[in-house]
């Protein structure tokens, strides 16, 4: 069994980093739209599992500056 740790220096984002990165990326690509934060929220509600949305809430709380303004505003719109 090849021990995972010896594998080449991997550049895998942790799950948390990836969720932050995904949220910011969605926000950045919808920035040019009229109501970017509403659209970002709608997108996350439509495509993310409940667990992913909940995890993002926790992360946003732990690291308030991690999310971009649009992403942060969008998150506030997502009730759950």
């Amino acid at each position: 069994m090849s021990d995972e740790s010896e594998v080449m220096s991997t550049d895998i984002m942790s799950t948390g980093d990836r969720l932050i990165y995904m949220a910011n990326q969605i926000a950045r690509n919808l920035a040019a739209q009229r109501d970017a934060d509403v659209q970002t929220a709608e997108h996350i509600r439509k495509y993310w599992t409940g667990a992913m949305r909940a995890r993002l809430q926790e992360l946003a709380a732990e690291r308030p500056d991690a999310l971009s303004p649009i992403a942060a505003q969008a998150l506030r719109r997502i009730a759950v």
């Binding site: 090849s2 594998v7 080449m8 895998i12 690509n29 040019a32 739209q33 599992t49």
Partner: protein, 948 residues
Amino acid sequence: MSFSRETDHGTPAAIATGKSVTLTIDGQSVTLPEGTSIMRAASLTGGSIPKLCATDSMDSFGSCRLCLVEVEGRNGYPASCTTPVAEGMVVRTQTERLKQLRRGVMELYISDHPLDCLTCGANGDCELQDQAGAVGLRDVRYGYDGATNMGQAKDQSNPYFDFDPSKCIVCSRCVRACEEVQGTFALTIEGMGFDSKVSPSQGEDFLGSECVSCGACVQACPTASLIEKSVVEVGTPDRAIVTTCAYCGVGCTFRAEMRGEELVRMVPWKDGKANRGHSCVKGRFAWGYAQHQDRILNPMIRASVSEPWREVSWEEAIAHTASEFRRIQGKYGTRSIGGITSSRCTNEETFLVQKLIRQGFGNNNVDTCARVCHSPTGYGLSQTFGTSAGTQDFDSVMQADVILVIGANPTDGHPVFASRMKKRLRQGAKLIVMDPRRTDLVKSPHVEAEHHLPLRPGTNVAMLTAMAHVIVTEKLYDEAFIRERCDWDEFTDWADFVSEAVRSPEAIEPLTGVKADEVRAAARLYATGGNGAIYYGLGVTEHSQGSSTVMAIANLAMATGNVGREGVGVNPLRGQNNVQGACDMGSFPHEFSGYRHVSDTATRALFEQAWGVSLDAEPGLRIPNMLDAATDGTFKGLFVQGEDILQSDPNTHHVAAGLAAMECVVVQDLFLNETANYAHIFLPGSTFLEKDGTFTNAERRIQRVRQVMAPLNGYADWEIVQLVANAMGLDWTYDHPAQIMDEIAALTPTFAGVHYDRLEAEGSLQWPANDAAPDGTPTMHIDGFVRGKGKFVVTDYVPTDEKTGPRFPLLLTTGRILSHYNVGAQTRRTANTAWHPEDRLEIHPSDADNRGLKDGDWVTLRSRAGETTLRALVTERVAPGVVYTTFHHPETQANVITTDYSDWATNCPEYKVTAVQVMASNGPSDWQRDYADQARTSRRIAPLEAAE
């Protein structure tokens, strides 16, 4: 021999002019379209005129002179293949005089032809043999002491067919097929007069010539001069079953020609509406993998991936699968398991896998490999047009005036469609190619793009927005179309956005590296050149802005009114045979079949009522999220059907880590693929030749796949899924895929009218096929857009985070080559390796020089995600600063290099942009060696005795 060959009317159907003509042939009055040849007219009305150089897949040639007829009032004996019918014409086709002339011609033919009919590979299937009989040849008075073309060496270089010049009657059907049908022009006639000889390229053997081995010439050859090796070995076929190819998204239909139970050859079906009687090397010849010894035929299980496999009975394997999944759900929760559907299995099988997961597992953790190719298409086109599929059928290209190809290399990826596109280009349509590489469509024999925009990888949105800038600022948009079919306010928003100076071709030139006036010229041509048709591939979707690019494309089409009629449209060239079907069937975690969101209560109620369970309203995990959840310890079980995510998905380390963290990985496939290295249960799958079902190709055409031979592994894939489902407590009672399609039709509005009896009758249907469109929908959005008004979406260029820098100065983009398909699992187990035995790194001479690299050297390719080694191919096909490779061979594992950046909307991986460094290497990287060892150990199968 009663083998029902398709009737060959000798000449193609006339180009419709609306007018028809009445004439008499052999005393019978017939009425036919103007322009029809006398030969075709006779054939269509029950008559038959001898022919050898005429075949209805090509224009008439008039060289064999067998088809002479008499026409009242016209002297001499015109050839019926090259003489169109005329009003009031009186034709006689069977007079004594004609018989005498035909015998005279045949006597000349046979004076220069070997007499070995009884031992010839084409015995019983040779037009020369048939015609010699038909004209009643009894004598060859010329004797055999004169000059002949016999006794020439046979060319057996091509792995699939032989070329025997001694049996050639120089009818040029092969040369014409290579020109008109395939468009490669690899054959010619060498010399003149009696010494005329068919010659690949410069008189070389076929394998060494420009031939791409599409098989059109072999199919066209009336004698045994060009013949499949399988026919020579096995014998001529005696029955044929029409089925659909399991390789790319063109969806070619073939006649699987059998001799008893043995498949002799695959011949493209003339009535196939996607391929119109043409094929490529993969569909035509590379089907040998179905009987390859690597096929796993017995189920196997093991406790951990470090142990060798243990063969078990089906019952044990199925029960073990069910119990493991239930165990994991018990321990880690309902959502701790999920599955991946295949884009290579049938619609019915894909539907059952997502049903197993939703009804059986009770969650929406289902995804498909469309995730990594055209998921942005689904998202982008549904946002703008309201439907997740291409707008045209393939025939539509023949009405196009301007063809814009973006991020696609059809001559390699969709060869049969590329041949039809090349034919249209030779008729005068103009071509624009937007691709970092100088693909064949940019310039190759008889094809030349009007404009090539070699943009830097990752700058698609900037380029398309700049083209929009030109179209809007120079008022080239179709205002009437926009006002009628789109939302004017949304258009003006979009128009103002794209008009800003910062989005002009001049502004983005430093970014894309393409001269501004080239961009302006291309934009003007697309907008004003007549019917504008856009075809795009993974070079659009596999980017961090894949979805934005698709929407930018849709914007261009709407702005110029190029939607809703023949010859225009937005056409994704979908990679795999059923990737469109896989998406249609609800393989994505967020939607049911027909692209309806899981949160939509009405739709969910429909499925809950049909399946008798309450369904999860929450979207499930996508593949990358499954792997993340696995490393986090919350996702422990995975069912993978016909998919090899370890080789095809990006950032191999990430995939490996995810798989390794799971407790039960079930793989259902033909061979022990790379993903199986981390699997605990292996359920042997069946090939497309061994089961019934349907595939849906890139033009939404649903076509039948018919069982040609009994499944070697004992079950069709849908039967296996049913076994697992019932073992998990469900009570599925399907005994034929037709019933599954009926269920799909009942639950999916766009498939409402799709049933097997209709598919048998019509040959194929393009969805939506329902009461609103009883005969299917060749062209979409004719009157209005599916979503009502076409939606202009503002798409702003956002640079990818994958940046080049001193450590990784070059940009890597990936793709596919003609002879291989996807990860090569099938094609590597056929003779296709003759053309592409290893993945090569294409690198520009200047980049190679300043690294001291020569063509063929071993090089190390390294990105921040990983490193591998392969041999260099120094070429000007790639621009300076850009390198390219394919991902067909596991030894190179190109995807160890690709990073985990992906499309913002669908997480489609950014295969096309990876910052890399290339340097001389002295051999395989450590990782490759470790990987090879791991793969070897993991593929051991314990010998049966040891198990007792």
